[in-house]
């Protein structure tokens, strides 16, 4: 086999193993106009700090230095309280726009970051057979991609959750995703890539996305987002939604949640950012908030008992968050397993009583019109809906502002948020003619 044949074979074999449903059933359904924003908190966010079980004395025993202070924690329902820095989350919760699903995660414990993230992104339990595509990818494979900006990762790469569709874009940041080529160069490159079966879909997607993003990048970023990559990504997601880009789903990575030491100081700014970014996102979206669902996951929760470094090691049960105008917020959805030794997973971690797939499935079924849920979550046993998500199969179109109006209205809005985080290099003096 020569190289060309080999690449052809890899392309065919890859497509077959990665996305059989894509081949068979691609594009059989139109998007219902709603937007799904999937945020993954990488590193395993500590659910017991994000949303602490203040009504359980064992929590305070296990966390002598890390337990939240019941006097400063933000009260939710008399039993749980939010971290005081998460005021943004508290506002959304009180307004009924944020639901918290506690003691959730992978049913089978998996305490490796990489294995647990992979399982959750592929939409399986820890020890199921591994499909080649992710749960978001399988959902998106059933949607007609009627815009180049249907499926977007606001990151340098497409996460595994979105794997399995050719048209998933990795945008990085909108203001950096522009093509610096003239039309002759662009068309010559496009012709060159047409000859490579593996790379052609990505090259075409990159070229057409760059065109489609031109009007979106004219829309300035909204105000009030916290500094940092999460704020930047959500500001970009808002521009895609407000600009009527055709966005169906966006994936965002928020890293830095692995706190084996000095957790209190490390988690505080992250929780503040998370809450503030979501609050700014809601304000920015305006009427479109009603058409948007945000789902926030992390690979597992952390151990109940703190370690000697004032941090926490890997645990099991964690927290999921769902936000948006059509979420039954203001409630904590938890079949609380308790913190007594016999109630813990492996005797030391919060147990999982809600399979994370139950939450994702309810979201897809109630708000995104998905019927074939077992195809998206192979091996999952459906349970009754918990009522986290309102049925909302059609988007509320009221108050939709056109992009052009928004550009005019928003002349005073802040400049591109992403520009603030660009890394720069101070170059050393290099005399001419040293090398080669």
């Amino acid at each position: 086999m020569n190289r060309r044949e080999l690449l052809q074979w890899m392309a065919v074999a890859g497509a077959a193993s990665a996305a059989p449903r894509w081949v068979l059933a691609s594009g059989h359904r139109a998007s219902n106009g709603r937007h799904l924003i999937s945020i993954f908190l990488r590193g395993a966010a500590d659910g017991l700090t994000l949303c602490a079980p203040l009504g359980d004395a064992r929590y305070f025993d296990a966390r002598p230095t890390l337990a939240l202070d019941e006097n400063t924690a933000l009260p939710l329902d008399g039993f749980f309280g939010l971290h005081p820095a998460a005021g943004g989350l508290k506002t959304l919760f009180d307004d009924g726009d944020l639901a918290i699903v506690h003691a959730s995660g992978l049913a089978s414990a998996q305490r490796s970051h990489f294995e647990a993230q992979a399982a959750m992104e592929l939409g399986i339990d820890a020890f199921d057979l591994t499909p080649g595509d992710g749960w978001l990818g399988r959902y998106l494979a059933g949607i007609v991609p009627d815009s180049p900006l249907t499926a977007v990762a606001l990151d340098k790469a497409v996460p595994r959750a979105m794997a399995g569709i050719d048209h998933a874009l990795a945008l990085g940041a909108i203001d950096e995703f522009s093509l610096q080529l003239d039309s002759r160069a662009q068309s010559a490159l496009s012709q060159a890539y047409a000859a490579d079966p593996l790379l052609a879909p990505t090259a075409e997607a990159a070229l057409s996305a760059a065109d489609a993003l031109v009007p979106i990048s004219d829309l300035p970023a909204g105000e009030g987002y916290p500094d940092g990559p999460l704020g930047t990504a959500l500001a970009d997601a808002a521009r895609l939604i407000l600009g009527d880009s055709g966005l169906v789903a966006a994936a965002i990575n928020a890293g830095g949640w692995d706190h084996h030491d000095n957790q209190a100081a490390q988690i505080e700014p992250l929780l503040a950012q998370l809450g503030d970014a979501l609050a700014a996102f809601r304000a920015d979206l305006g009427a479109k908030w009603a058409d948007t669902t945000i789902i926030i996951q992390t690979e597992f929760g952390r151990r109940l008992g703190e370690n000697a470094s004032a941090g926490t090691d890997h645990g099991h049960g964690g927290v999921m968050l769902a936000a948006g105008g059509a979420v039954n917020g203001g409630s904590i959805y938890a079949d609380w397993p308790g913190l007594a030794p016999q109630d813990l997973s492996a005797g030391e971690d919060l147990a999982v009583t809600t399979d994370y797939r139950q939450v994702l499935a309810e979201m897809l079924a109630r708000q995104f019109g998905v019927i074939d849920l077992v195809d998206i979550f192979p091996g999952w046993t459906p349970g009754p809906w918990q009522g986290i998500f309102d049925p909302a199969t059609t988007a509320s179109r009221a108050g939709v502002a056109k992009r052009h109006d928004l550009v005019a209205q928003s002349a005073s809005r802040a400049g591109p948020a992403s520009a603030r985080y660009k890394q720069t290099l101070v170059l050393p003096a290099i005399p001419a003619g040293l090398l080669p």
Binding site: N2, R3, L6, L7, M10, R42, R111, S112, H113, F114, E115, A153, D155, K156, A157, V158, L169, A170, L171, F177, L179, Q180, L181, R184, A185, A188, L189, Q191, A192, A195, D196, L199, A200, T202, A203, A205, A206, A210, G255, D258, H260, D261, E306, N307, A308, S309, G311, D313, H314, A346, Q423, L425, L427, P428, I430, A432, G433, L434, L435, P436
Partner: protein, 451 residues
């Protein structure tokens, strides 16, 4: 030499270096593939004193002792110096070092023992770890690297082992040691083993300005059970013993060899290749040079096609090497900008598993867009200092320019259809813009993304 043999040589040279160019191909042609591999494996016999002299002249931190570096950073308040200078030295070495395979192995071990050198303490410790451990033993033996890494302040700090004590074990390092550095996630250890290994490493800590310190009073002096074997409480020696057991474990050999084979052959390496090279790893007691020799000369590598999608750093260094640019602020900042946009700056992957080494991750719209833009911007900006572009500009006529550029930038040759497309594009360009535009097209085109 016939064309297909020359093409094979280019392909293999491209794969084990940061990019084949005209001068490298002269060497490879003279030595043959096996001879070139031998030469590159014996890296100390290759003179890199000119490059190192230049680096030390422009980056005085490279020669500093840990104490001098510490003072430079904290007393003289050069807080960004360790991160910046190691980054610059690394980018320059990858592009310009004559010890190309050695630099690739430095990168391999930097990914394998990944630390995110984005905070001040980690970047300070990583600076000396790179110089005094990784670069010393990248071609040496695996156990030496493993033992050195476990005791390196960079890893002790990054994975929190410096605060792992008998009173409160911190499992972070123990878990990644087993999962990432040695046995692999399916290597056959349990959650219980992780806890016991964490106990073994209690007391392994750091003393400023950047040295290993064993704190016997925070060490857990109980007996431990690791993989069913009793570890008697001998203090510091327990950790040495466990690392030695891990270095010699069959799962470790397979895990390391699989990663090496993934780097140098295919995302999913052939089972037989991994079997054979694992034998070489085991029989040489983890000698990296012998393992590499077995891998790179194996028929499944030496005869294989270019099916590895280049990572962004391979693209970026390859671009600079193909254009034969000189070392300058422009070429350095071009490499930096490309890797920054592509998310592949050295030592900045945010998790302990190191930058991915699979096409699925790197083949993204952002990744290709960065390559399109970089090739266009570089060829234009670096035209005055690129030997290849200067020579191309002196040639008359599109056809002759195409032949010259393809022979220089893609020595493995062009498929006839590619050459026809190139000619069509050339006909749309005027004389002044043609050499740089055609070079950009070739270097950001599909063929140039595989190695």
């Amino acid at each position: 030499m016939d064309a297909s043999e020359f093409e094979r040589l280019v392909r293999l040279a491209d794969r084990i270096t940061y990019g084949a160019n005209r001068s490298l191909m002269q060497q490879v042609e003279a030595l043959g593939y096996a001879g070139f591999v031998d030469q590159q494996l014996d890296h100390e016999s290759i003179d890199d004193s000119e490059l190192e002299g230049v680096l030390h002249a422009i980056l005085p931190t490279l020669a500093m002792t840990p104490q001098e570096l510490y003072d430079h950073v904290f007393e003289e308040q050069n807080f960004g110096a360790p991160q910046r200078d190691l980054l610059i030295a690394t980018l320059i070495r990858r592009t310009f070092s004559p010890r190309q395979l050695f630099e690739r192995m430095v990168e391999f071990w930097s990914d394998h023992f990944s630390v995110s050198a984005t905070s001040l303490p980690v970047s300070l410790f990583k600076f000396t770890e790179d110089r005094d451990l990784i670069r010393q033993h990248a071609m040496g033996d695996f156990e030496t690297l493993l033992q050195g890494d476990a005791a390196s302040p960079a890893m002790l700090y990054y994975l929190d082992n410096f605060s792992n004590t008998a009173e409160g074990p911190n499992e972070n390092y123990a878990r990644e040691l087993l999962e990432l550095h040695t046995m692999g996630v399916d290597g056959g250890y349990t959650e219980g083993d992780i806890k016991e290994v964490a106990r073994v490493f209690t007391g392994w800590s750091i003393r400023l300005p950047g040295e290993f310190l064993f704190r016997s009073f925070t060490h857990d002096w109980g007996t431990k059970q690791v993989f069913g074997q009793q570890i008697l409480p001998t203090g510091f020696e327990e950790g040495r013993l466990v690392l030695s057991l891990l270095a010699g474990h069959p799962s470790t050999a397979r895990h390391i060899v699989t990663k090496l084979a993934r780097r140098f052959s295919a995302d999913i390496p052939a089972e037989r290749l991994v079997d054979d090279v694992t034998d070489a790893f085991v029989s040489s007691n983890g000698d990296i040079r012998e393992t590499l020799r077995s891998l790179l000369l194996h028929p499944l590598v030496a005869e294989s096609q270019a099916i590895k999608f280049k990572r962004p750093n391979e693209f970026a260094s390859g671009l600079a090497r193909a254009l034969e640019t000189e070392l300058s602020q422009q070429s350095l900042s071009a490499t930096f900008e490309t890797l920054s946009s592509a998310g592949h700056l050295p030592f900045q992957w945010p998790a302990p598993d190191g930058y991915p080494d699979r096409r699925e991750y790197w083949q993204s719209t952002n990744g290709l867009l960065v390559r399109f833009n970089s090739a266009a911007a570089w060829t234009e900006a670096l035209a005055p200092q690129s030997e290849v572009l200067l020579q191309a500009a002196a040639i008359d006529g599109p056809l002759a320019q195409i032949d010259f550029l393809s022979a220089s930038l893609r020595p493995q040759g062009l498929e006839p259809a590619t050459r026809r497309r190139m000619l069509r594009y050339a006909n749309t360009l005027d004389d002044a813009e043609r050499p740089a535009a055609l070079a950009a097209w070739l270097l950001s085109g599909p063929e140039a993304q595989w190695r």
